[in-house]
């Protein structure tokens, strides 16, 4: 192995990676894919004006409105309302995701680790889990006052189930041999929990968290549509009610981007915590 080439750091590393990626087909395929998608959207709504699609704003209408200093329909990147909607939704997600993770991960770990706790909790979890989040809307409005609490409750509930279940499966997935090895070495139960159960379940936990933040977003939007005063879900349904279709589409696109960013953040945190896993995957060329 030659060690003469020093690894670039910081910005130069980023530039190096970027240049390297331009030599692969990946970025061009992405550009082509996005372009094709935008073209079809434009063709349906603005180009051919296909029946029923002609009422939907096309990409040109949406993007001119999005970047207009004085938007016709009220929402663009220059209006403070736009950011208020994003901020409110993000805050709700942050709270819901934090509660769901804080409760779901420990619950799942204990359920995976101890047969007794699983016997207590699992049947209830499995009964509540299939109930669609929208079915909880009336109950949450009855249970919680105001706009904020019911919406957060619904988003929390949805992601709690995903997080708990994935964490439990994560513990199940740990090879028995590690428990035995730890037993030989003289670990107490608590040591095993700390050094085997928690780190061993991490890959599943983070897979679960990525799904759970997605689930949190779509249940949040569903909740905001039914009961809310602000937020991206509210923006979408409110625009529809008021017959302004462009902000509706802007809300949808924004939602997509913000959701994407949040799951990238979760994934990055997971990779940072699980160097052993990342390195193992890298050896397989992934």
């Amino acid at each position: 192995m030659s060690r003469s080439i020093e690894a670039p750091t910081g910005l130069s590393m980023f530039v190096y990676r970027f240049k390297k990626s331009l030599q692969t087909p990946d970025p061009y395929l992405t550009i082509f894919g996005v372009g094709l998608w935008l073209f079809v959207w434009w063709l349906l709504c603005e180009g051919l004006r296909v029946d029923r699609f002609d009422k939907i704003p096309g990409p040109i209408a949406v993007f001119t409105e999005l970047f207009a200093r004085t938007p016709f329909q009220g929402i663009s990147i220059f209006t403070p309302e736009y950011y208020e909607h994003i901020l409110v939704s993000c805050r709700r997600i942050a709270i819901a995701f934090a509660i769901a993770t804080g409760v779901g991960v420990p619950l799942g770990l204990f359920m995976g680790w101890s047969k007794r706790i699983r016997d207590y909790a699992f049947p209830i979890l499995e009964t509540l889990r299939p109930i669609p989040i929208l079915a909880w809307v009336p109950l949450s409005i009855l249970m919680f006052p105001g706009f904020e609490a019911p919406v957060i409750f619904l988003a929390t509930l949805a992601s709690l189930f995903v997080t708990t279940l994935n964490t439990m499966l994560g513990v199940d997935s740990i090879d028995e041999a590690y428990f035995r090895a730890a037993g030989c070495l003289g670990s107490s139960n608590w040591d095993v929990f700390k050094h085997v159960v928690v780190p061993g379940a991490l890959p599943y936990i983070f897979t679960g968290l990525q799904i759970s933040i997605g689930v949190a977003w779509f249940s949040l939007v569903a909740a905001e549509m039914v009961s809310g005063d602000l937020g991206l879900g509210y923006l979408i349904v409110d625009s529809y009610m008021n017959n302004v279709t462009v902000p509706m589409v802007i809300g949808m696109i924004t939602l997509g981007f913000v959701g994407w960013i949040t799951s990238v953040m979760v994934r990055a945190l997971g990779n940072w915590l699980m160097q052993w896993h990342v390195k193992a995957l890298a050896l397989q060329g992934r």
Partner: protein, 293 residues
């Protein structure tokens, strides 16, 4: 459930003469399954593992060798009979009986170094500088000094086994239990690992139980070979291997080695045929399903 394995009492008593301990297995039986369909895996098995010897257990595959290992290690309890380590009964897993597992059981989220110091660190019986220098010594001994900060999945199969040996040795166990430790290695690494392991054993003659299904490996390593029968496992024959130590590969082609091999092969073949004949349709279906896992 995972927790049940370690619920058993964990004791870490240390003898006066580490590595010079005797294990007696007395009339041990173990069966699995429901009462109406229980299958006996081990029946009234009695074996002695002599101090300072390398005892090798060979038997046809699926004869209950791993179950025996689990019983001695304390991961499972015998239905009847008892297992004595220097006269006291085995109650659960402990650091005085270190197991090197079939497939690697190095903890993948710990680096090689962290794996090796895991046991002493948890128990707190070796700390700071002493622990570090002992770990470094063992890492160098198994030739992994440069790889101490790598994760197990970044090591080759042979390296993983050596790391596992180091992780066991740092605990200074009374007996080492090797459960088909070199299975899954290619022929070349396997040969090298056998020689490496022999040198390690011949250095301090720590009581060692080595389980394998390969007769050549058994003859090369063993002081005594215990040939087990088909399920339920019983002792078919005990063979003393009097090849001189230190051993080398050429001895495998000696007249004596051939005699032992002929002897053992005859029994193993007979036992393997029995299991082949007794194989019913459902056995094959089960084996087939398992092979897909």
């Amino acid at each position: 459930m995972a927790q049940d394995t370690i619920d058993a009492e964990i004791s870490g008593t240390q003898g006066d003469t580490p590595g010079q301990s005797k294990v007696e297995i007395r009339q041990v039986s173990k069966a699995y399954g429901d009462e109406w369909a229980s299958e006996s895996v081990i029946e009234s098995l009695s074996v002695e593992i002599m101090p300072g010897e390398l005892t090798v257990i060979v038997g046809p595959s699926g004869c209950g060798k791993s179950t025996l290992v689990n019983l001695i290690a304390g991961f499972e309890k015998p239905d009847s009979g008892e297992i004595l380590l220097d006269g006291s009964k085995v109650k659960g897993p402990a650091r005085d009986r270190m197991v090197v597992f079939q497939e690697t059981a190095l903890i993948p989220w710990q680096t090689t170094y962290q794996n090796i110091v895991f046991g002493p660190k948890l128990r707190g019986d070796l700390k700071g500088k002493a622990l570090r220098s002992e770990a470094e010594r063992l890492l160098d001994k198994v030739g992994l000094g440069e790889f101490k900060n790598k994760y197990p999945l970044q090591l080759s199969g042979g390296m993983q086994r050596r790391a596992e040996l180091a992780r066991a040795l740092i605990n200074n166990p009374r007996i080492m239990i090797m459960d088909e430790p070199f299975r899954g290695l290619d022929a070349m690494s396997r040969g090298l690992m056998q020689e490496f392991f022999l040198r390690l054993f011949e250095e301090n003659r720590r009581t060692n139980l080595f389980v394998t299904s390969e007769i050549d490996e058994a003859i090369f390593l063993a002081d005594r070979i215990i040939v087990l029968s088909n399920r339920p496992a019983q002792v078919r024959k005990v063979i003393e291997v009097n090849l001189p130590r230190p051993r080398d590969y050429k001895m495998l082609s000696s007249e004596e080695a051939y005699a032992i091999k002929r002897d053992a092969m005859e029994i193993l073949h007979e036992e393997a045929m029995k299991s082949f004949k007794s194989g019913t349709k459902s056995d094959f279906a089960e084996a087939y399903a398992k092979s897909g896992q």
